[in-house]
């Protein structure tokens, strides 16, 4: 169930307060209870549930690791976005490329990286996805096509467009997916890249995760056109919106756009309407959210919703669900143990990754070293 950019404009939110609540125009009809689970096999559906549960448990442990000071820096979680993450990643081949923003632990796992390596990156260990040099915001793995989580809002969009350019240049059949948040659609790089991708016919799908909140700023506060998928129209690009809480719907929409891009080289934009269950990052109590909005996010919990859907549909029974949850818990425990047991990088390796091609006179001076 998706809205497309060709739909007529909904009633304007007009004089309503734009703070802390969703405007009517942004509402997406949410799937309720026992609705269609699409044509996916039961096994696939159970695997979606397993992946979503894994991301949920993983992110909870990441938050715990942060409070234990095992994880440093910023730490943005995918809690509440599990259906979107799993749906999107299920639409990609292993050889397809993914660029994300800084809220990407779940994407890294769903794209195929071992949870232990993702946790080890959070722990800053040599076994991490980026050898401990990147941290929470900077996961990377060429093997599975994750070409980076990026900490600068919008920074990944030109890069993703360029990766699509390289595919086009070589005549490859891979597709690039570029994930971003709702706030990113206001930045120049977004518009420059949408224009370039459409102009040059590049195989990239821009995915906007609209959880209505860019840190504490709502979409209504920041975007003149709050139905974000409509921005694609300005670049003569196909745009559509999907319920991000519905893993099957997300997989279906993303899969369709990805395959279209693969076939025609045409870019597209997909807006997944979703919820952020917690604050912007683990340190954000999200006091700016209205009580009803926070309650709505809790109620919309995609993992719990999908679990009961599967049980109602007879895909899973309570024991089966509990067994998956136990297995997932064990996976996360193992990931934490792996991270904890992994070595910290040796300070002697500090200068190993500044340049890909070594050149003369590269400074390898530590703060107290004399220059001569």
């Amino acid at each position: 169930m998706a809205e497309t950019a060709t739909r007529s404009k909904p009633a304007s939110s007009g004089s309503k307060s734009r703070r802390g609540t969703r405007s009517g125009g942004n509402r997406v009809q949410q799937r309720q209870g026992n609705t269609a689970l699409g044509s996916e096999s039961q096994e696939t559906l159970r695997d979606y549930f397993r992946q979503m549960s894994l991301i949920r448990r993983f992110e909870e442990r990441a938050a715990q690791g942060y409070t234990q000071a095992k994880v440093g820096g910023y730490c943005h979680l995918n809690l509440g976005e599990e259906a979107t993450v799993v749906g999107l990643m299920s639409a990609l081949r292993r050889s397809d490329y993914l660029f994300t923003n800084y809220r990407e632990h779940g994407y890294a796992i769903a794209k195929g990286i071992e949870p232990g390596r993702v946790m080890a990156e959070l722990y800053g260990r040599t076994t991490g996805t980026s050898k401990g040099l990147g941290g929470s915001m900077h996961m990377f793995d060429t093997e599975v096509g994750l070409l980076g989580g990026y900490g600068i809002v919008g920074g990944q969009i030109p890069l993703a467009t360029g990766a699509a350019l390289a595919i086009d240049y070589r005549g490859g059949d891979e597709v690039v997916m570029c994930q971003m948040g709702d706030g990113t659609t206001n930045i120049g790089a977004f518009h420059e890249s949408m224009n370039i991708a459409a102009l040059w016919n590049l195989p990239v799908v821009f995915v906007v995760i609209n959880n209505y909140l860019g840190m504490g700023t709502t979409v209504d506060m920041s975007s003149a056109e709050s139905e974000l998928y409509k921005r694609a129209v300005a670049y003569r690009m196909h745009g559509e919106r999907v319920d991000g809480n519905d893993v099957v719907a997300v997989q279906e929409a993303a899969g369709r756009l990805v395959e279209h891009a693969r076939k025609t080289g045409e870019p597209a934009m997909l807006e997944a309407v979703s919820h952020r269950m917690k604050g912007h990052s683990v340190v954000d109590p999200a006091k700016y959210r209205s009580a009803e909005d926070a309650e709505a996010a809790r109620e919309a919990d995609p993992v719990a919703t999908f679990r009961s859907q599967l049980i109602s549909a007879g895909v899973l029974d309570e024991d089966g669900a509990a067994e998956i949850e136990r297995a997932v818990q064990a996976d996360v425990d193992a990931a934490v143990a792996f991270a904890d047991d992994s070595p910290h990088p040796d300070p002697a390796t500090l200068f190993d990754y500044t340049y890909a091609t070594p050149v003369a006179n590269d400074s390898r001076r530590l703060p107290a070293d004399p220059v001569f």
Binding site: Y97, F99, G128, S130, K131, G132, L133, G134, H138, F140, D141, T142, L147, G148, Y150, I152, G155, I157, P158, L159, A160, T161, G162, A163, A164, L165, A166, I167, Y169, G188, A189, E192, S193, N195, I196, L199, W200, D352, Y353, T354, Y355, A356, T357, V359, A360, N361, D362, S363, P370, V371, F372
Partner: protein, 330 residues
């Protein structure tokens, strides 16, 4: 060995590299149909087609970032930024992305690309089109910054930059495009990170890069007629910076003047002067002098522009004063 212009050396080298490597492509504003604002890419669209010579919208952040992304997948983009002033619109992609890809992800990927861009003033282009802001990039680990001053160096450093797996900012200069020099066709690529002693001398060290390296040579020539033996160092590479060569020279001469087109405060010369203090303190017979642009938004009017920019005259004056300070010929 042919005598050709700096412009021609760039054009010929780009063409050669495109012929020898399918992955090399050009991307930038007005480089194809218009044949380049400064005609470096003239004729290349016709020869190589739109795939290899890609005209872009006026969207520096978008196309510089696209080049970074393409480089991450193994292409070798050569970006032309019409002037270095416009690079500011792509600052995030250059500094936060191109420079970080290799290090931030633990060496799994890199961005092998060349960002060609001219700096320099003196053509009455006004405050926003006459700047020398290469320092912004020379400041950033992960980037390499080279600044050829002669046609031969333009060729040798462009070849080196294209062979390098890191992003290289390749600084050109509007005033150098028409300068001529011998360009050996079989010369090997230059070594990034190495300065050149372009003139050997014993009385004073003059250090410059890009346009000011040629001005330094000019001033050294003038002074040699009066019996002054000036050593001239062309930095060639701003990052990495070849401190050894600078310091070795100053240890010999005991004094130095730095010639730079950028602004004085926090400029490239400040780093060089600090390096000389680090490595040649006990050899200094006079303070290190810097000849740099006046610290104003560059005015349009010719007399004001001329007054603000460093020149052979101003460098000559500073060199003479320094020679006087060390008692040269007394």
């Amino acid at each position: 060995m042919a005598v050709i212009t700096y412009r021609q050396a760039l054009h010929d080298t780009l063409r050669e590299e495109m012929l020898s490597d399918e992955n090399v492509f050009l991307i930038g504003e007005e480089i194809g149909v218009f044949e380049g604002s400064y005609k470096i890419t003239a004729g290349l669209l016709e020869e190589f087609g739109e795939k290899r010579v890609r005209d872009t919208p006026i969207a520096e952040e978008g196309f510089v970032g696209a080049a970074v992304g393409a480089a991450m997948l193994g292409l070798r983009p050569v970006v032309e930024l019409m002037t270095i002033n416009f690079s500011l619109l792509a600052l995030d992609q250059i500094v936060n992305h191109a420079a970080k890809i290799y290090g931030m992800f633990g060496g799994q990927s890199s961005a092998p690309m060349v960002l060609r861009t001219p700096g320099g003033g003196g053509q009455q282009l006004g405050a926003t089109h006459s700047q020398n802001i290469e320092l912004y990039y020379a400041f950033v680990p992960g980037l390499k910054v080279v600044a050829p001053s002669t046609p031969a160096d333009a060729r040798a450093l462009l070849k080196a930059s294209l062979a390098d797996n890191d992003p290289v900012l390749f600084l050109e200069n509007l005033a150098l495009y028409n300068t001529k020099g011998e360009v050996p066709e079989d010369a090997p690529p230059a070594e990034i990170g190495k300065a050149g002693v372009t003139r050997v001398g014993s009385d004073i060290t003059i250090i410059g890069y890009s346009r000011m390296a040629t001005v330094a040579t000019q001033v050294a020539d003038q002074l040699s007629e009066e019996g002054v033996s000036a050593e001239v160092i062309d930095l060639r590479s701003l990052r990495p910076l070849d401190r050894e060569t600078l310091v070795e020279s100053v240890r010999k001469t005991g004094c130095a003047v730095i010639a730079e087109d950028d602004w004085l405060t926090y400029g490239v010369g400040a780093e060089i002067a600090a390096s000389i203090s680090d490595g040649a303190f006990d050899y200094l017979d006079a303070p290190v002098r810097r000849v740099a642009a006046a610290e104003v938004p560059l005015p349009y009017a010719k007399p004001l522009e001329r007054a603000a920019l460093p020149s052979a005259e101003s460098l000559n004056t500073a060199v003479r004063q320094t020679l006087e300070a060390v008692g040269h010929r007394r």
